[in-house]
């Protein structure tokens, strides 16, 4: 238990983003408590600082009192530990010593408290008996409570991270991940979440290893613990031994070598041996990621998520701000296409600017196109920015979450209005762009024939489509196992979409997670998906697999697979027919 001889602990979770990293744990849920400000205080102001500390302790006692008072009767017998904490709050080793330190050294209360607690913890560390283990936890909890009151930290603020760390959290909300200083993070691990949760997507976008669904990682891991994370296999090692560290470092090196190799060859087109060309593109969220798409050999942007500029700020972005960002991306990629998806907000991405009215079931609520059609001015602001950016390259527009034909009509009408308004003001724009829809709601699949007559292309969003088809939340680990892209139900939905597109001579693309997993490439080729778009990191591996698969054979294979009714059987068929090809092309850790 104590620092000198820590046992190595291995825990298994769900692999969310490949790669290996070694680093110190950073507990997100205690944020505001672990990073403290340090400053000196003049002699004449020290008594005021002491008062501030006393007030924080008093508030902590009041809070605990309130907890005890409000505890339901059946819990009253468990309030002993809270009473213990109340005594600890005023313990002279903690309370008096902190005050003395403030007065003697003139340091601020947070710093003083932290030093006192560190001293207490090291005192306990020298005691071998395991029964004392929980004692430090009590002291830490008590000091955390004071610290929270001192810094006024109710909210998580991971924006302030100033060291290279591995984030450990129960879960990371999109609003939280959007605040992270990306270059600071080595990896993510979370208790909750499934493979397709937002945390996983963000991690893959940032090309950092992530393991999710670990259940009790936050309980096993303490701040600053050394961690080794294997996102490729979904393993986290706490307090890794020297041997483990060596092993992980070697594998990290091998993985990076492999990435270098496949990235080098990724700048060529991906054509099947029988001459079938499949454009492979990148999904992006930030304009900066365009570089990553290009570096990994992406031939365009198949999905440009536009929510980011609406998050982590207090008001909606202006048309000019949006235009600047879009133009940046469009110019860099030109003449390759950039598919801009209009705002998909109020789903699992709470809008920072306007998040007051919480819906009980946001995934089924007023989100994406529904939200935009309800807020036509907000929507038109974005549409105008897109039309203006289209002057600078090859722009496609995608309307998300379409579930019926009326929504397409309404969206197209607003697009026309946006163009007319630009006409009147004389701002240059390009109205001659392809407009398509995300196919991610089962009703849109059922209506695919009708919808295909109204739009220029379909872009299949498998994440939501699979969730809505099975009525599961991919972030819920109790049902995450039902998220099965190869399930006959999904295969048939995809077939229906691809057929409708072909019958009506429009494009059919895929930008969901499924497109970025090399394992599914044979099936997607066989279904006749024309373009694949994915997180930039996956582009080289997917291209590599495309080059190894005969498109005609894949078509025959899919026709056979579509006869099956059992997902296990389809999975086995993929293994039988393509297992060895895939094993040769895809990195195995």
């Amino acid at each position: 238990m104590f620092a000198d001889h820590l046992e190595e602990i291995r825990i298994n979770g769900i692999k969310a983003s490949p790669g290996i990293c070694i680093g110190k744990a950073y507990m997100v849920d205690q944020e505001g408590v672990d990073i403290v400000e340090r400053y000196y205080i003049d002699k004449q102001h020290r008594s005021k600082e002491v008062k501030r500390f006393k007030a924080a302790v008093r508030k902590a006692i009041d809070e605990l009192n309130e907890i005890i008072t409000n505890a339901p009767e059946e819990f009253q017998q468990h309030t002993g530990i809270i009473e213990t904490h109340m005594v600890l709050l005023k313990d002279k080793m903690l309370y008096d010593k902190t005050i003395q330190l403030i007065e003697a050294e003139g340091i601020n209360a947070e710093w003083a408290l932290k030093r006192i607690v560190a001293g207490l913890k090291s005192m306990f560390r020298n005691i071998s008996d395991t029964y004392l283990r929980e004692r430090t936890a009590d002291i830490e909890q008590v000091s955390d409570r004071i610290m929270r009151n001192l810094v006024g930290a109710d909210k998580v603020n991971i924006g302030a991270i100033d060291k290279r760390v591995i984030l450990v959290a129960r879960d990371l909300s999109p609003a939280e991940t959007s605040q992270i200083q990306l270059e600071r993070i080595k990896g993510f691990i979370t208790d909750r979440g499934g493979q397709a949760s937002h945390t996983g997507i963000i991690a893959r976008t940032l090309e950092i290893p992530a393991v999710v669904g670990l259940r009790n990682a936050t309980r096993l891991i303490n701040n600053e613990d050394l961690l080794a994370v294997d996102g490729t296999n979904g393993v986290v090692v706490i307090h890794p031994s020297d041997n483990t560290l060596v092993e992980f470092e070697e594998r990290q090196q091998r993985y990076e070598d492999y990435l270098t190799l496949i990235t080098r060859e990724s700048h060529h087109r991906a054509e099947t041996p029988d001459g079938h060309y499949v454009p492979v593109m990148g999904n992006i969220e930030l304009s900066e990621e365009v570089v990553s798409v290009r570096d990994h050999g992406g031939e365009g942007i198949g999905l440009y998520r536009t929510e980011f500029q609406y998050l982590s700020r207090s008001e909606f972005p202006t048309e000019d701000e949006l235009f600047d960002k879009y133009r940046e991306v469009v110019e860099v990629m030109a003449p390759l296409p950039v598919s801009i998806r209009t705002l998909d907000i109020n789903g699992d991405k709470a809008i920072g600017a306007n998040g007051n009215d919480e819906e009980p079931n946001p995934a089924l609520g007023l989100r994406a196109i529904r939200y935009c059609l309800k807020n036509p001015e907000l929507f038109k602001t974005q549409l105008k920015a897109i039309l203006r950016a289209a002057v600078y390259g090859n722009v496609r527009i995608i309307f998300p979450l379409i579930s019926n034909t009326q929504e397409v009509e309404d969206a197209q009408k607003l697009l026309q209005e946006a163009a007319d308004e630009l006409d009147r003001t004389g701002v240059p724009y390009n109205g001659d762009i392809e407009a398509g829809i995300m196919v991610e709601v089962p009703s849109a699949v059922i209506l695919a024939e009708e919808l295909a007559k109204m739009v220029d292309f379909f872009s299949i969003g498998t994440n939501d489509l699979i969730q809505y088809a099975f009525a599961i939340d991919r972030g819920n680990q109790n049902v995450a196992h039902m998220y099965q892209p190869l399930h006959p139900a999904i295969m048939r939905l995809l077939k229906q979409v691809a057929d409708a597109a072909r019958n009506n001579h429009i494009g059919v693309y895929m930008c969901g997670e499924m497109a970025g997993d090399p394992y599914f490439v044979p099936v997607l080729l066989g279904l006749g998906i024309q373009e694949l778009s994915m997180n930039p990191l996956s582009i080289p591996a997917v291209k590599r697999v495309i080059r190894a698969i005969e498109a005609d054979e894949a078509k025959k294979f899919v026709n056979q697979a579509l006869q099956e009714t059992d997902v296990k059987r389809i999975t086995a068929m993929v293994e039988e027919s393509y297992g060895s090809i895939l094993a040769k092309q895809i990195y195995k850790a």
Binding site: V87, D91, M93, L94, M123, D129, L132, D138
Partner: protein, 90 residues
């Protein structure tokens, strides 16, 4: 000044953990003069939970409760009684 002391054995299963230590500390905090807890020649302030914890007293440990002033005899006896009763948690 004359000190008074009483020996007592920790009988509750968890020993002097945070909760039991807190009970002692709360009682000792009522005293007008210092109250000490001793084990194997080590002495700590009985009014501090944290100090008591550092004594590390699992079940079976013999400790000595010491008061500096006879005025606190009542508190001395109350603490001993609490320890002897196993803090009501056996």
């Amino acid at each position: 000044m004359k000190q008074l002391a009483r020996d007592v054995v920790i009988i509750n299963k968890l020993g002097l953990h945070a909760r039991s230590a807190a009970k002692i500390a709360a009682m000792a905090g009522e005293a007008h003069h210092p109250i000490w807890l001793e084990k194997d020649g080590q002495r700590v302030d009985a009014a501090s939970v944290i100090e008591i914890l550092t004594l590390m007293c699992p079940q079976g440990t013999q400790v000595t409760v010491v008061i500096d002033h006879p005025d606190d005899t009542g508190i001395l006896n109350a603490i001993v009684k609490e320890i002897e009763s196993g803090f009501g948690e056996i």
